[in-house]
Amino acid sequence: MHKIDKLDFKLEKFEGPLDLLLHLIDRNKFDIFDIPIVEITKQYLEYVDQLEEEDMDVMSDFLVMASTLISIKSKMLLPKDEEVEEDEADPRQELVRRLLEYKVYKYASLELKDMELDAGDTYFKKASIPKEVKEHQEPVDPFQLVEESGITISALNEIFQTLLKREVARIDPVRSKFGTITKEEIRLEDRMIEVREQMKGLKSINFKTLLGTKRTKMNVIVTFMAILELMKYGHLFIRQTEMFGDILIDSLE
């Protein structure tokens, strides 16, 4: 058995432990069905030793195989029980099966590589759809459309009535009586300043008083947020004597 050339080895790049094993078998001209397990394990470990510096992901795959090899080696070195020997499978059997399987796909991958090279010169055309085709609009048959949807004129009437109802409901009936509805824009910052202005000179104020006449939802929300903000800065404190009762705001300034 020749000693392996370490330098040559380092330059080799293997796709994994099986690739490395196949290389070792090939290089030593070992019989794949009768692998000298002691020798191959020795050579394999020598390679793995050099891998030390590499990243752990690569290493772990190689180490798993190393332990498999050592396990096979130890099984083969154990004294055999003469009587059961015939039934006992060769511990190398599974490894051989895996090596052959891997070899098959490696062979196939080389074939594929050639096929890819050959096929690479084929050009597939982009679509060239004539304008007339692109712009074509299928004529519609309104009769069929109505028939398929099962809609009737009275159903259309109902739809319209529902829409009217929805439209009426959408307009706030109370406010709509005041004429035009203007969109209010209330900024939190502005409201904070206003609240402090309103509180000036007061020991405490009622939330409702603070709102005054502007009881829109938006104003209620922004005013409440302004109070919370001001409380955070220590300008005021709020309390509520009973659930859902008045909110009283005490000035801390």
Partner: protein, 194 residues
């Protein structure tokens, strides 16, 4: 380079580009290094190709225009292509379309903006579809800034819904409208009270 190889090369290049290619450019790109291609051979190849493509069993046409050559689909197969490319999108009257249609039917002549006011959402797409389906059509322009289009229903609409005139549209009674209004106000009041 012989005529046969030259024909094949021209075909391959025209197929790949899909667009019109100047004959002299074509001639230049198909010649391989160290090869010769005479004007005569090239001309023969083009003529032979033109003849081949004129055959009835071809679905592609080779057209010569202003010294350029181009492959394109024969017009008579556009129908087949339409079926494949414009995968027939299932046309149905969706809720959106029906809502829009009902508004146009009852409020006509009506602008898109008015329809949108009633529906509360934009319906440019629905309007366009209904025009495509020929249920509604432009019936005039509103005398207002921008002169927006006024839409109304078509005869196809009447026929499709089996009515002979707009008078046959089921009524929306004024009472009903008042009911809606009252109902909405009551709902609002209840909310305020609670």
């Amino acid at each position: 380079m012989d005529t046969i190889k030259c024909k094949a090369a021209i075909e391959a290049v025209l197929f790949a580009t899909g667009s019109a290619v100047e004959k002299n450019i074509l001639k230049n790109v198909i010649v391989k290094e160290g090869e010769q291609l005479s004007d005569k051979t090239f001309k023969e190849a083009v003529e032979s190709l033109l003849e081949d493509y004129s055959s009835e069993e071809r679905g592609i046409r080779l057209i010569e225009l202003n010294g350029k050559l181009q492959l394109c689909t024969k017009n008579e197969y556009y129908d087949a292509l339409i079926q494949l490319v414009n995968a027939p999108e299932k046309r149905t009257l969706t809720d959106v379309l029906l809502e829009t249609l009902s508004i146009v039917a009852y409020k006509q002549p009506v602008t898109r903006a008015e329809v949108e006011k009633i529906r509360g959402v934009s319906c440019a797409h629905a309007i366009n579809r209904l025009v495509d389906f020929n249920f509604i059509t432009e019936v005039g322009r509103l005398d207002a800034p921008g002169h927006p289009i006024l839409f109304g229903t078509t005869d196809d609409f009447l026929r499709a819904f089996g009515i002979s005139s707009m008078d046959d549209l089921p009524d929306i009674s004024p009472d009903k409208m008042a009911d809606f209004q009252k109902q909405a106000e009551e709902e609002a009041r209840i909310k305020v009270e609670t």
